[in-house]
Structures are given as structure tokens and as C-alpha cells.
Symmetry: C2
């Protein structure tokens, strides 16, 4: 029975990879830059998204897909309140988004003229790593109070990302966090990766992240 | 194929429930109080365990099982440095502990005279909820910087717990956190549940938690 299960999981994974490739082709055909934001619960994914919208919109036309494990609309409402098209995917208790879910979410979004699609993955430092969504940029939002040892403890999700946002740097004076140790853990897994220390509260460092993001958009 | 998978998952779940019951019988036969600590990565599970050991040991004889998704021994070493027997379970990338893993971990621990077994689950606010371990006390460690909306967003893991530790209250002056809103979210899911606001840094509130825990131990 164990073998049957492994076979099925393999099938699901490769089906997901195929869907992810289709999503990527879909984004490329429309000149949409897609960003997949992964993080631990409470690292500040939604805050990063809201501040990114405030920095880049309306010059950049943005849409958002919100992944949630439960049917609560707390995050989607915050995005919608900024006048940004948003669709929410409830995974029904599942611990990650899959490419096919994203594809379904896209069907509920008005994508004409959209240049940037931000996908907020489910808050989880393990499972989302195994499911590509077809995004151009896969990033982790870490946060100071989570601790500097997380890249060492959760290498699966920290490995192979395209950039890292280190959020809540306004809390550095109150928390023991060795930035050098943290960055070493990131660098070993992703040599040369851009790291953006930011505070969504004070906005310190935020323009470095949004300038980088803007530079990745087709036609900007 | 989907049905086959669901059937297999059901079999795994009920096999886990049977193992969990066996673990509980094992603990009861030896007068061991078993505690399963679940939390988001970085909420402070290990800090709570270390401070609990410092408060209760050596009067209470304690052993620890550390669940980790990767083969790093950061947490286990901290426990071992306090002279406490510890065994580490590497889930090999899996997102939760299962009862059978705990059973295997027990075989590597010297349990004679042990009164309290603390099991640190994998850092994850979703998956561990589906796998009972046979512990007497299932608890979530939340933390102030994670935000006050987590019980609403992750109801699966916040529902049906026996108590809650709200860690990092020393950061309350620096973070927007509405304790009333948070407690309402917990209370709706678990009417009358004990909530222990603590700081592992200043130790504020910590003795309320350890006194409660001591009161749950057989023979104390």
C-alpha cells in the first residue's frame, strides 16, 4: 500500500509540474510578472503585499490571488480595500496552493492590462516548497521575531528561491537575531540571492525591494 | 485515482489513531504526562520547552522528543545541554509528527522514573492538527508578532486544544496585537480553555503555566 501511495503522490506532483508550466506560458503570453510569496504564518506576507501595492499602484496594474486554508476573507478584504482585483482560493484545510488551484483562481480575475500578479501562498514553511505554481519569482518572506535559525531548520522551502524579504526589521532592537548567521544560511542554499531587509511598519528598506521588483517587469 | 488516494489517506489516519491510543496507554501505564506542543515556525516552542525544564527540573523528571523536518540538531542540543534526555525524530521533509514516529522515538529514550514527556511537533499551523500522538495535553504556542488573527485563519489547529501559550508578550509594546480579539478567536473554538500569556525572555507569566502543568501530573 505504501508503494501505491508513493506512486500516486508522484503522479500528483508531475501533474502539478505540467499545470505550473501551463500557468507560466499563460503569464508570458500576457506579459504578466507572477510572484509566489511563501512564508510562515505571521511573517507578514499580506503586509508585504499591501505595501507593495501602495508603492507600485496605479503605475503598475496589479492583481492578487490569496491562498488560505480556511474560508476567512481577512486578507482578501485588505487587498480589495485598496481597489485591487483579488480572488481567494480556499484550500479546504490543505497546507499549500497547487498550480491547478492558481489556474482556477485566474478564471475569476479580470486580467486585461494586468502587469503584476501576486500570489499569497498558504502560511507554511514546508509544504508549498513541493508545489510549483508557474510563477516567475518564488520568494520567502522571513521575519525577525521568527529567529535567525529558520533557513537551517526549513531548508526545503528556503532552497531554490529567487529572492528573500526579511520583514519586521523594526523589531531588531528587541529580539536576538544574528543577521550574519541568518544570511549565511540563505546564501549556502542560494548563492548570490538578493535579500531585502524591510519593515512594513516604518517602510525602511521597502523601496529597494519594490525597485528590484519593478526592474523585473516586462516593459518597465 | 482520487478515490484510491482518499481511501489510503483514511487508512493512514485511522492507523495513526490506533497508534495514538497505544501511546496513551503506554504513558498511562508509566504515570507519564505527555504534552504535544504545536506552533508556527518561530513562535518559540523550543524556548517554552527550555524554560519549562528550568522551572520544573530536577523536581520533575522530564524527557523530550524533538520533531524536525530536517536533520539539524539545533533544538535537540539545547535540550541536551540542560541534562535532559532527548531524542530527535527527523520527518524527512514531512510536515508533522505521527503517532508511530513518537512510538519509535520512545524506544530511544530512557523512560524509567520519567514523569513528564514533552513532544515538540514540527513547526506548522496546519498539518499536525490531523495526527494525534496520544498526548494528554495538546497545546498551541502562539506568539505576539505572529498577529492576533491566527485563530481565525488556522482554525483547524486552534480547535480542540487543551491549553494555549501566548508567547513573546515582552514584544506587546512594539507590535499591534489586540488581545481581546485573539482570545475571542480562541474561546469560540475552545470554550473555557486556559490561556497562558508568557515571555520566555523576561519569564513574565511563566510560573502560572508551569504551576498549571505541574497540577496535571499524576502524583504531584
Amino acid at each position: 500500500m505504501a508503494n501505491t501511495r508513493i506512486q500516486i503522490v508522484k503522479n500528483i506532483l508531475s501533474a502539478n509540474d505540467r499545470s505550473a508550466e501551463e500557468n507560466l506560458e499563460f503569464f508570458n503570453a500576457r506579459n504578466i510578472l507572477a510572484v509566489n510569496i511563501m512564508a510562515s504564518p505571521g511573517a507578514g506576507k499580506t503586509s508585504v503585499i499591501l505595501q507593495t501595492i501602495k508603492a507600485l499602484s496605479p503605475d503598475t496594474r496589479i492583481a492578487v490571488i490569496e491562498g488560505d486554508t480556511a474560508p476567512v476573507t481577512i486578507d482578501s478584504e485588505k487587498v480589495s480595500n485598496l481597489g485591487i482585483p483579488v480572488t481567494q482560493i480556499n484550500t479546504g484545510g490543505n497546507c499549500h496552493l497547487e498550480a491547478m488551484m492558481v489556474r482556477k483562481g485566474l478564471q475569476h480575475l479580470e486580467l486585461d492590462h494586468i502587469e503584476l500578479l501576486i500570489i499569497e501562498n498558504v502560511g507554511n514553511l514546508i509544504c508549498p516548497a513541493s508545489f510549483k505554481l508557474g510563477a516567475h519569482i518564488n520568494l520567502v518572506t522571513a521575519s525577525i521575531p521568527e529567529g535567525d535559525d529558520k533557513p537551517y531548520k526549513y531548508p526545503g522551502i528556503y532552497r531554490g528561491i529567487d529572492c528573500l524579504i526579511l520583514n519586521k526589521i523594526d523589531l531588531l532592537p528587541y529580539v536576538d537575531f544574528n543577521q550574519e548567521y541568518f544570511r549565511k544560511g540563505i546564501e549556502v542554499l542560494n548563492p548570490g540571492i538578493p535579500v531585502f531587509p524591510v519593515s512594513c511598519k516604518t517602510l525602511e528598506g521597502f523601496n529597494v525591494w519594490t525597485n528590484w521588483l519593478r526592474s523585473r517587469m516586462p516593459g518597465k
